[in-house]
Symmetry: C4
Subunit: 275 residues, 4 copies
C-alpha cells in the first residue's frame, strides 16, 4: 500500500516536472502549461483594450477562473508530491523547504492576486490587481534557464558593469547640469530643472531621441552633439560586457553536465548516491 | 539523334544555370536576368508613384508583359532541361522533384500573379496583386548565397537567439504593463491599453524613438529611462550573436570546397562518381 | 610626545584615506563621505526645481553649510596629516607637493564656490555659482578607479580613436555641405547654413534622430539615408575600440598588484623599502 | 651650379613633404598648411551664415585670396621639385606622372574652383561654386592615412560587406512594400508610394527614427516593430565587419615598416637601392 502511494506520488511529481526525453504524458503537460501561461499573458494585455473587455467580459472571467483553478491544483499537487525528491524527503520540513524555493514562491504569486480580495474585500481594487497576474510570466522560468543565465552573467561581470554605469552616471550628471545652464533661459519649460534635463540626457545618451525635448541654443547643441557622440562610445561598454559575458556563460554550460543523485521510482531508496 | 537532343538540352541547362568561369553565353544570360529582376523590383516600386504610373502606364504594362513572357519561357526551359542533372535524371519523377525545389517554386511564384487573374476573373483585384511581383526579388537567391548563409547562421545560433529573444519578450511585457500603469491616466490616448504600450516599448527598446508616444509623468520617465538603458544592453545580444555567427559561417565556407559528381555533356554518363 | 603626535596624525591620515580591510572607523568615514557627496549632487539637482527650493530653502542652505564645514575640516586635516606619508614627509614642501596633487585640488575645488563670494562680494552671482558644487562629484574619484581607467584606455587607444574621429569629422563636413545644397531652398529655416546642417548631421550620424530637422527633398533624403547607414558602420568603430580597450585594461589590472613602501605607524621609519 | 640647383630643389621638396623627425622648417610648414586647410573648411561653413558673411565679406574674400595664392604657389613648387624623387626623375614625363597622382590631383582640385570663373565668365555661379572649396579637406589626406586605411579595410572585407548590404536591401524592399500595403489607406500622404515608404524603412532600420513618418495601423505597427528588431540585428553586421577589419588592418600596419630606396640630397644618386 505504501509502495503504491509512493508510486502514484512519484508519477505525479515526474509529470509536473520538466519532461525527460521519453515521457509523453509529462511532455503533454509541459506544453499545455506553457500554452496556458502564454494565453494568460495575452489575456492580461487584451483585457486593457476596452472594446475587447466590454464585449468578451464573460470569456475573460471564465478563462481567469479556469486558469486559477488549474494553477491552484498544480500548486497543491506540487507540494504534495515534492517529498519524492531527495532534497525535500521529510514530510513536513521537506515541504516547508520546497514552499520557500523561488520556483514555488512564483507559483504562489501567480494565484495570489485572485485569492487576496476573497480574504479581505477592501483589497478588491478592480482591474489594477488583475495586472499583477502578469507575474505568471515568471512561471516560464521553470521551462527556461534564460533569467538564471542572465543573473549569472550579471554576477560574473558585476565589476565591469558597475564601473561603466558609474562613468555613465557621472557623465549624465555633468551633462544635465551643463545643458540646464545652456538651455534654461531659452526653453524654461523643457529644461525647467536639472532632473528634467536628465530625462533629455538619458534619451540622448541612449540614442533613442524621442524629440520631445532638444537643445535649440548654439551652446546647447554643441553640448548635445558631444554627449551623443560620447554616449555611443560609452553605452557600447555595458553592451559589449554583457555580450561577452553571455557567450562565456553559454560555453561554460555546454562543458559541464552534472549528474545528480536520484530516488528509485519503486521503493523510494537512493539510487546513484555520491560516494 | 538522341545525343544531339541531349547535347542541346545540356547546353540550355548550362546557360540557364549560374555561369562557370569560361562560358560567355551563360554569363551574358546571368547578367541579363539579374538586370531584368532588378528592373522588375524598381518597376513595382515606381508603379506606386501615381504621377509616374499615369504618364507611363503603357510602358509599365509592356515591360510587365515582356518580363512575364521571358520568365515563363525561362521556367519552361528549366523544367525541360533539368533532366541532364544527375539528381533529376528521370524524365517524369526527376522533373516533379525539380518543380518542388525551393528555387523552382520561387520561379513559379514570380510568374503566378500574372496568370492567376486569367484563370479566374474574380481574382483581378487590380494593383494590389501587382505588388506580389515583388517576390521576384527571391529569384536573386539563385545568384547569391546571402539568404542561405543567413538561414544557416540562424540555425547555428538558434539556442542563443531564442534565449535572448525570450528575455527581450519578458522585458517588453513587464515594461509595457508598468508603463501602462504609470501613464494611462496622464495620456489615456497614447497608452490606452497594454498592446498600445507595447508599441512604445518596442520603439524605445530598439532605440528608434519616433517620438509619437513618450512618457510624461515622473514614474513613466524613470521607467522609460531604465528600459532604454536595459534595451541597449540586451539588444546588443542578438546583434553580437548574429555577427559572430556570420563570421564563423563565412570562415567555414572558405575552408570547404566540395567536389560533386557530374554528367558528361556528350553521352549523359556519370563522370567522377563517388567511389 | 613627538611619537604621540605622530601616532595621532597617522591615525587621522589612515581614517581619511580609503579604508583597508580591518579598520572599522576608516570604513565608517568612507561610507559617510560617499553618502555626503551623493547627497550633495542630489541637492544641486533638486535646488533647480523651483517648487522644492522655495519650500525647503532653509533646509537646502543648512545642508550646504554643513557640507562645506565638513569638507573644509576634511581638507585641513588631510593637509595636516599628509606628512606621515613617505612621499610628502617634509613639513613644508611635502604639504605643498600634496596640495598640488589632482585629488587635493579637487578637494579645494569642492569648497571654493562657497568661499569665493566671501572674498569678493561682486562674485555672488546667485544660483549659477551654486551649480559649480557639482564638481564635488569628482571627489568620488578617490573611491573609484573608473575615471583613471577611462583615462588610461583613452591614452592606450589614442591612435585608433583619433583616426576614426577624423574619418567621422570629414564625413560630417562633407555630408553637411551636401545636405545644405540639397535642402537649403526647400527648408531655408532648418538648413539656413552649413553649421546648422552640422547639427542635423551629428544627430543623424549618432542615430539619435530627434526629428526637429530632417530632409524633405528627394536628394536630401537619399543623402540622409546614405549618411545614416554609413554612420552606423563608422560609429561602431570608436565604440568597439573603447570596449576592447576597457577589457584589455581590466585584465591587465587583475594581473598586477604592486606592493609599495610604507611607513611604520609608531616611529615613522620606512618599512618594506625598495631594495 | 647644377648641384646647387639640385640642392635647393631637394630642400624645397623635403620642406613641402611630410616632415621627418629632425627637420624643424618642414615641421613648421606642415603645421601651417594643416592650420590653413582647417581654417578654409571653417570659412566655407561660416560663409553660409548670412549675418557673418554680410559683416565680414572683405575678410572672407581676403582670406580666400591668400589661401588660393598660397595653395597655387605650393602646387607649382611641388611640380617643380618633384623630380628629386626617384619615381618622378624625368624632367617631363616624371612631372606628368606626378601631376596625375591622386594627391597632386587633389591639390589641383583645391585651387580650381577659384580659377574656373576666370577662364569662362559664365561659370561664375556665385556662392555655390565656393562650396566646392570643401574639397580642400582632401588635402588633409597627405597628413593622415585614415582614408587610405578605410579604403583598404573596405577592400579587405568587400565580400562580407556586399553580402550584408544585399540582405539589408532585400529586407528594405520587402518591408517597404508591406508597409505600403498596410499604411497607404490610413496615411495616403506619408506612405504615398513604395519609394516614399523606403524613406521610412531606412530611417527605422538604422534606428534614427526622426518621427516624421511612422505607422499608425495595427498591421503597420507590427511590421514596424519586426523591422526595427531585425534592423538592429542585421545592421550590427556591417558595423562588426568594419570594426574587425579596422583592427586587423591597424595590427598589420604596426608589423610592417618598409624601407624604400632614397636619393642622395647632394648629388642626386640613388642611395640604398634594391639589390
Amino acid at each position: 500500500m505504501k509502495k503504491l502511494h509512493f508510486s502514484l506520488k512519484y508519477r505525479v511529481c515526474k509529470t509536473l516536472d520538466l519532461a525527460e526525453t521519453n515521457d509523453p504524458l509529462s511532455k503533454a503537460f509541459d506544453i499545455f502549461l506553457l500554452g496556458l501561461i502564454f494565453l494568460n499573458i495575452v489575456a492580461v494585455a487584451l483585457e486593457t483594450v476596452d472594446s475587447l473587455y466590454e464585449n468578451y467580459r464573460y470569456f475573460f472571467e471564465a478563462f481567469e477562473g479556469f486558469s486559477v483553478l488549474f494553477f491552484t491544483v498544480e500548486y497543491i499537487l506540487r507540494i504534495w508530491s515534492c517529498t519524492v525528491k531527495l532534497h525535500y524527503r521529510h514530510p513536513i520540513w521537506g515541504r516547508v523547504r520546497y514552499i520557500i524555493t523561488p520556483l514555488a514562491l512564483i507559483d504562489l504569486l501567480a494565484i495570489l492576486p485572485f485569492f487576496l480580495p476573497l480574504l479581505s474585500p477592501q483589497l478588491r481594487i478592480g482591474r489594477s490587481l488583475r495586472l499583477l497576474r502578469l507575474f505568471r510570466v515568471l512561471k516560464l522560468n521553470r521551462y527556461t534557464d534564460s533569467l538564471r543565465i542572465l543573473g549569472r552573467v550579471l554576477r560574473l561581470k558585476q565589476e565591469e558593469l558597475l564601473l561603466s554605469l558609474f562613468v555613465l552616471a557621472v557623465l549624465l550628471a555633468v551633462a544635465s547640469t551643463m545643458i540646464y545652464f545652456a538651455e534654461h533661459d531659452a526653453q524654461p519649460e523643457a529644461f525647467s530643472s536639472i532632473p528634467e534635463a536628465m530625462w533629455w540626457g538619458t534619451i540622448t545618451l541612449t540614442t533613442v531621441g524621442y524629440g520631445d525635448v532638444y537643445p535649440v541654443t548654439l551652446l546647447g547643441r554643441i553640448l548635445g552633439a558631444i554627449l551623443a557622440i560620447l554616449g555611443i562610445g560609452l553605452f557600447a561598454l555595458p553592451a559589449g560586457i554583457l555580450a561577452s559575458g553571455f557567450s562565456e556563460e553559454l560555453q561554460a554550460r555546454k562543458a559541464k553536465k552534472k549528474t545528480q543523485p536520484q530516488i528509485c521510482p519503486h521503493c523510494g531508496e537512493i539510487i546513484n548516491p555520491k560516494e
